[in-house]
């Protein structure tokens, strides 16, 4: 019990002193996560919008498939990307394995279905309201998609937030493709897993606290943003 409380004290000391190792790990985590979520939004929002407004055979099957991809097992995604990026794999020549880029790719694969599926639902609801207005304006398919994405922006932030939560907390895939190499691919979640297995609880706890605080801060920020937008009837 004393070890446990001592670990807490050490964890807060690391945070308070802005330990360089801790800072490096947090910086890389945020860099990988935000890059992955941004790319996932760029891919996922248009896919969600196209599925929301498209009427074609097999659409419902695609929607069900996309929804089921939200539960992709991270270790399986990690394994598949590992096979693609390994020296013997089809993308081995890119030499991305055990780099932050590989971790971004893994997270993009995990987050895009979440962002796209949630975006589809949000945009489909809005499309029900805007459909006739946009058709009366003779808006093209692309103009319709752009209008819907812009006008659903605050609801889409919630989709992005769900993706961010998944990416920030993800460990299975990034540890396989990143390798958890110190100063290169070591992020918060993989460090927590490693340090805990070594019995070094201080760093693990420090990172755990920061991870939770970050999550709260990001959620609170977006909540305030959406709340202010709702007051102006923009959300």
């Amino acid at each position: 019990m004393q070890d446990f409380s001592q670990a807490f004290v050490q964890a807060f000391a690391l945070i308070w002193q802005a330990d360089p190792v801790l800072i490096d790990i947090i910086a890389l985590s945020l860099q990988v996560t935000f890059t992955a979520v941004s790319i996932a939004c760029l891919i996922g929002f248009p896919i969600g919008a196209a599925l929301a407004i498209g009427r074609f055979p097999g659409r419902m099957t695609l929607v069900v498939f996309l929804n089921s991809l939200m539960g992709l097992p991270p270790v399986v995604v990690g394994l598949v990307i590992y096979l693609f990026l390994s020296a013997a794999g089809p993308l081995g020549f890119l030499q991305l394995l055990y780099t932050p880029a590989a971790m971004v790719i893994a997270q993009v694969v995990l987050v895009t279905p979440i962002v796209a599926a949630l975006a589809r639902q949000v945009i489909e609801d809005l499309y029900g309201e805007y459909d006739e207005m946009l058709r009366a304006m003779n808006a093209s398919r692309i103009q319709t998609i752009c209008t819907l994405i812009v006008d659903a922006r605050y609801s889409l932030l919630t989709s992005a937030l769900a993706g961010l939560g998944r990416a920030l907390a993800e460990v299975g895939a990034v540890i396989i493709v990143g390798g958890n190499i110190a100063n290169v691919t070591r992020v918060m979640t993989t460090t927590i897993a490693l340090e805990t297995s070594k019995g070094e609880l201080a760093l693990a706890l420090g990172l755990g606290i920061i991870l939770i605080v970050l999550s709260i801060v990001i959620n609170a920020g977006l909540f305030l943003l959406k709340n202010s937008a709702q007051k102006r009837a923009y959300a």
Binding site: E129, Y130, E132, M133, L134, R135, A136, M137, N138, A139, Q143, T147, V150, D151, R232, A233, Y234, A235
Partner: protein, 254 residues
């Protein structure tokens, strides 16, 4: 005179709609959920001025506007513009009964319509400013559109519909739930657009509104056009028995 010139600059149709005249609905058949709405509807609309479509609820008035705008397609029959079965998309402005506005500011709603119509980026702010001044809404330019009053929202949808200089303006009960002042503002813009050469077709239940703005009235009942004549003649001495009953408030819907 000055006002007329500025109106013309803002509202004159890009393509004179006389090029698409007459508008004709020919042998239209339409059914929803096995309920027949139109069985052999025929209607020819004149090239000039403002045409009001009147009739009891469920007569099919709003559906006629949607057919004209190409928002729905008839199961059988044709909508002809100057003899051609092609709806001149981009030349038609539509105002719905319930205003649907983007989750943006007042000026951004107009700018969006201009962008969709392909108006040059540099020209958009000037046209937006002019249209908002026309509608007396320039002081609301930066306000959130969906926070406006019902009358202001409907006026904005009207200005937005006029943004791309349509030749034909379709209005579906634009002042159904508005007070007399808000209605007068809407009618003022509609009349000015008509004076600039925009053909207007308005669905209304309001006999006063028809008298104030319309040149002719088409009376629709159970999916059939029973009467089409000048507004004065229609309101004072309608040709059909059912139109007389409708104007007297005695037409019961079965």
């Amino acid at each position: 005179m000055l006002k007329m010139n500025s109106d013309l600059a803002l509202l004159a149709p890009r393509v004179s709609f006389s090029a698409f005249m007459p508008i004709r609905l020919e042998n239209i058949h339409l059914a929803f959920a096995r309920r027949e709405i139109f069985s052999n509807l025929n209607l020819e609309i004149g090239a000039q001025g403002i045409t009001a479509i009147m009739g009891p609820n469920g007569a099919g008035k709003s559906l006629i506007l949607r057919l004209l705008a190409g928002l729905i397609e008839a199961a059988q029959g044709r909508v002809l513009y100057n003899g051609k079965p092609e709806v001149p998309h981009g030349q038609i402005g539509f105002v719905f009964q319930r205003p649907v506005l983007l989750r943006r500011s007042v000026q951004d709603n107009v700018m969006h319509a201009l962008a969709v119509a392909g108006v040059a980026r540099a020209e958009r702010p000037f046209r937006t400013q002019g249209l908002l001044e026309l509608g007396g809404m320039e002081h609301l330019a930066k306000s959130p559109a969906r926070k406006l009053s019902g009358g202001e929202q409907q006026r904005l949808t009207l200005l937005r519909a006029l943004a791309c200089n349509p030749g034909l303006l379709l209005l579906d009960e634009p002042s159904a739930s508005l007070d007399p002042q808000a209605t007068a503002l809407i009618e003022n813009i509609v009349l000015r657009a008509s004076q600039c050469g925009v053909k207007v077709i308005i669905v209304t239940h309001d006999q006063g509104q028809a008298a104030r703005v319309a040149d002719e009235v088409a009376f629709v009942h159970k999916g059939q056009v029973l009467d089409i004549e000048s507004t004065e003649s229609f309101l004072n001495n309608p040709q059909s028995r059912l139109a007389k009953a409708y104007l007297a408030g005695a037409l019961l819907i079965d």
